[in-house]
């Protein structure tokens, strides 16, 4: 287990960049880290794109990491018309999900979804959650974050794991419209999963840990 190393280097890096304001204690991450610590050789997916901190944290703990930037894939797959009109037919959505998650190889034991769901069309977000449920193994964990319900737009967060319970979340411009979720709609979204846990945070970002 190499989490301490990954974490300390990450904290040092963040400190060096003077971006400590972006660091946050994440209880959802803490629970997920415990899950990763107690196993070996799991398949983990990071749908926020690959960065060195997350790579070191996951592979340093003896796991395999599948990484893809959901936003980049979404923007390049769907046309502006499809997104602005909110129309994407089932076949197109299925094709997108196939292209996004085709490389995982194995069933997923943990998914780092971060805040990405809110930047997708509702029907795409719903289909993605369904697909994740299908490709995750029972007992697997999914970490998601939700911007406050009042936010009309937000920049997707670039999330970096800084150890067992710290995450550095830096907004990555430009601002994009966000789909609004409240606890009830989040519960409905993950209704096919085993359990759902909300974590209270100091800021308005809502953390959710979902167990398959």
């Amino acid at each position: 287990m190499n989490q301490a190393g990954a974490g300390s280097s990450g904290l040092a890096q963040a400190g060096g960049q003077g971006a400590s304001a972006d660091q946050r204690r994440s209880h959802a991450m803490q629970s997920l880290a415990r899950h990763l610590e107690s196993h070996f050789g799991l398949q983990v997916a990071d749908l926020g794109g690959l960065n060195q901190n997350n790579l070191d944290f996951v592979t340093g703990s003896g796991h395999r990491l599948y990484a893809v930037d959901l936003i980049v894939g979404y923007d390049s797959f769907f046309s502006r018309g499809e997104i602005s009109e909110g129309k994407a037919d089932e076949a197109r959505i299925a094709e997108f999900l196939e292209a996004t998650l085709d490389g995982t190889g194995r069933r997923l034991s943990a998914v780092l979804l971060w805040d990405r769901l809110q930047f997708l069309l509702p029907q795409v977000a719903l289909a993605l959650v369904e697909r994740l449920r299908a490709v995750m193994e029972p007992g697997g964990l999914l970490l998601a974050m939700f911007h406050p319900e009042s936010a009309g737009s937000a920049a997707p967060l670039d999330c970096r794991i800084l150890g067992d319970s710290f995450v550095k979340a830096v907004p990555r411009p430009p601002l994009r419209p966000v789909e609004r979720f409240n606890p009830r709609t989040v519960e409905r979204l993950f209704s096919g999963f085993g359990s759902l846990k909300f974590f209270v945070t100091r800021d308005s970002l809502q953390e959710v840990l979902v167990r398959r």
Partner: protein, 182 residues
């Protein structure tokens, strides 16, 4: 530096003496700038306008700044994909450094570096994977574990390999079967 022996000074003077028939030997031990290093260390170059179709293998460093459609096999050497380089195929090398675009699986016995603005789609296996910010990567990452050297036992028939892939290691836990899932 001030206390060098006479022999050292003579040796350095010999090295610095002009020998037009020979290649210049770099006298500094300081690392050059990254891109320069990548360029100058590559003994062979596939230039910007070159298109290669087929497998490339060899025992020297290679810089690809053109387009290569096929696999690359340089198990003892370094492959650099320059900013204008594109490779579509599997890559196996000791070190892989990418500034350009690669679509295919990467395997390096030492390190893989995916630099800023590079784009990689494929699975990556390396001892030390490094990814810079603003690089794009889609695929799986696995680190190769380097086992510490063991004390050789007299009865041992063959020495253990220096490096093993995680997936080949007996420590790896296979994905649970349907029956074992809770």
């Amino acid at each position: 530096m001030w206390n060098r022996s006479k022999r050292e000074e003579e040796t350095q003077a010999r090295q610095m003496a002009p020998e037009p028939a020979r290649e210049a030997i770099p006298t500094t031990t300081y690392p050059a700038r990254r891109v320069e290093e990548a360029t100058t260390r590559a003994a062979a170059v596939i230039g910007k306008t070159i298109l290669v179709k087929g497998t490339v293998s060899g025992k020297e460093d290679l810089l690809v700044d053109g387009r290569l459609e096929g696999d690359v096999d340089l198990p003892e050497n370094r492959l650099t994909v320059g900013p204008g380089g594109q490779i579509e195929g599997k890559i196996r090398a000791r070190e892989i450094v990418i500034y350009g675009v690669v679509q295919g699986n990467l395997e390096a016995s030492e390190r893989v570096e995916i630099r800023k603005n590079a784009k990689v789609i494929g699975d990556l296996r390396a001892c030390r994977p490094v990814i810079e910010d603003e690089a794009y990567f889609k695929g799986n990452v696995e680190t190769i574990r380097v086992d510490p050297p063991k004390q050789a036992k007299p009865a041992a028939a063959a020495p253990a390999p220096a490096a093993t892939l995680e997936s080949q290691s007996p420590l790896i836990v296979p994905p649970p079967t349907e029956s074992s899932r809770g």
